[in-house]
């Protein structure tokens, strides 16, 4: 069961349904508790992806010995009061259980899954998707990819990969860069990046788990015409 997922989880953008989101939870003794938790997590993601504002900054000090992290601060603002309300309006379409993870597919409207989309596929039987090596680009959407290492709890890896992708998406919309180089006997540079970006109508395009390197990937997109 492990490392097997339904197609809708790996390629959610292939579904004909609009307004879908996946929620995660760790398995608990009572399965319905896990499902409820996953629905809430999905509702939170739905609210974040529909309308949020990401602000933050990070600074690095680059010397010949390497690059040192000086600090960072990231704040994601969204309407947390809307999570509980949204959870009621989202309809569970499919649920996947494994030893490590419970995943629920939720939809805002009517969504009919065909047999192919529900079918579980083993990651090892699939080819590495092309978007891992080259992030897609088209006129309608901004795309961003993020990744996370394999943690003890699989859910942590997927959640971190999604959070990182959201940050990467925000940075592709607008980032202020300040870099100061100092060259004496040894070169060094201080780099500072800040961003303050609104995110609207973000969609999950695809997910992947590289079993060889133990890296989890998520691909997100946001319509370009949203301001």
């Amino acid at each position: 069961m492990a490392q097997e997922y339904p197609r809708w989880f790996l390629n959610p953008s292939d579904l004909p349904c609009q307004d879908i989101v996946a929620g995660y939870a760790k398995p608990s003794f009572h399965l319905d508790s896990s499902v409820n938790q996953a629905v809430l997590s999905g509702a939170e993601t739905y609210v974040k992806y529909s309308n949020s504002h990401l602000t933050g900054g990070e600074a690095y000090w680059s010397t010949e010995a390497g690059v040192a992290w000086m600090g960072s601060e990231i704040t994601l603002q969204y309407d947390s009061a809307a999570v509980a309300v949204t959870a009621v309006t989202l309809q569970p379409i499919d649920t996947v259980y494994s030893q490590d993870l419970v995943i629920v597919l939720l939809s805002k409207g009517h969504c009919e899954l065909d047999k192919r989309s529900r079918k579980r596929v083993a990651i090892k039987d699939l080819d590495t998707p092309s978007w891992i090596n080259s992030i897609p680009q088209d006129g309608r959407y901004l795309y961003a990819m993020g990744q996370a290492p394999k943690y003890y709890y699989e859910i942590s890896s997927w959640i971190e990969a999604e959070e990182r992708t959201l940050k990467s998406l925000a940075k592709s919309i607008g980032v202020e860069v300040q870099a100061m180089q100092k060259v004496s006997q040894a070169g060094q540079e201080i780099r500072h990046e800040t961003y303050s970006v609104s995110l609207r109508d973000v969609q999950t395009v695809a997910r992947w788990w590289d079993l060889n390197d133990g890296v989890f990937y998520v691909l997100l997109r946001m319509p370009k015409n949203v301001k």
Partner: protein, 188 residues
């Protein structure tokens, strides 16, 4: 005693021979899977490219380090391009004698070069295990036209500069470049 002397001589000869063999070659190290786009940065008339790499025990940090490295390179390239544009204006209109104009242009340059690199995006990225660390590689791209557009906007925002520069060929060239960028954006 004679036996011992013979043995000692043999040991010394062998040691001498080993010494003459030169230094022991260093063990070969693996280069890792350096992505081809990192070594051969793509060229495109519509984009500026910057590559970056970074290591950390934390995967996220390795990629963040690589991304900021790449973005800083792009920001520097934008700065050089804007400064070369300033030189062209100076040659044509003569900013050098006018302290106020020079200050305004410097301000505009600062705004353009330290302002948001909106549209800079990760084109390709790779993350690999490097011993106990993660190593991230990033290829960042930034549409050249976006920098031109930001400069033009800054020039237009200031009435004095706009009046002074708008008849110059450099300004017209800049406007034409920005128009081309608008067309290119629509075609994307």
């Amino acid at each position: 005693m004679r036996k011992f002397t013979t043995y000692l001589v043999m040991v010394l000869v062998v040691m001498g021979l080993i010494g003459c063999a030169g230094p022991k070659p260093l063990p070969e190290t693996s280069e890792g899977k350096i992505p081809s786009w990192f070594l051969n940065v793509p060229e495109d008339p519509n984009y500026l490219y910057g590559t970056g790499t970074g290591t950390s025990r934390d995967m996220s940090l390795a990629i963040d380090k690589a991304s900021t490295d790449a973005r800083a390179k792009i920001a520097r390239t934008v700065e050089v391009r804007v400064m070369s544009m300033q030189k062209k204006f100076d040659q044509e209109v003569g900013i050098g004698d006018d302290a106020e104009l020079l200050q305004m242009f410097t301000q505009a340059t600062k705004v353009v070069t330290s302002t948001a690199l909106s549209g800079s995006r990760v084109k390709q990225q790779d993350v690999q295990k490097d011993g106990n660390n993660w190593r991230g590689y990033v290829l960042m791209e930034y549409p050249i036209g976006a920098a031109n557009q930001a400069l033009l906007q800054q020039l237009k925002n200031n009435q004095n500069m706009y009046t002074r520069f708008r008849e110059s060929q450099t300004f017209k060239d800049l406007e034409s470049e920005v128009d081309k960028f608008e067309e290119w954006k629509k075609a994307q």
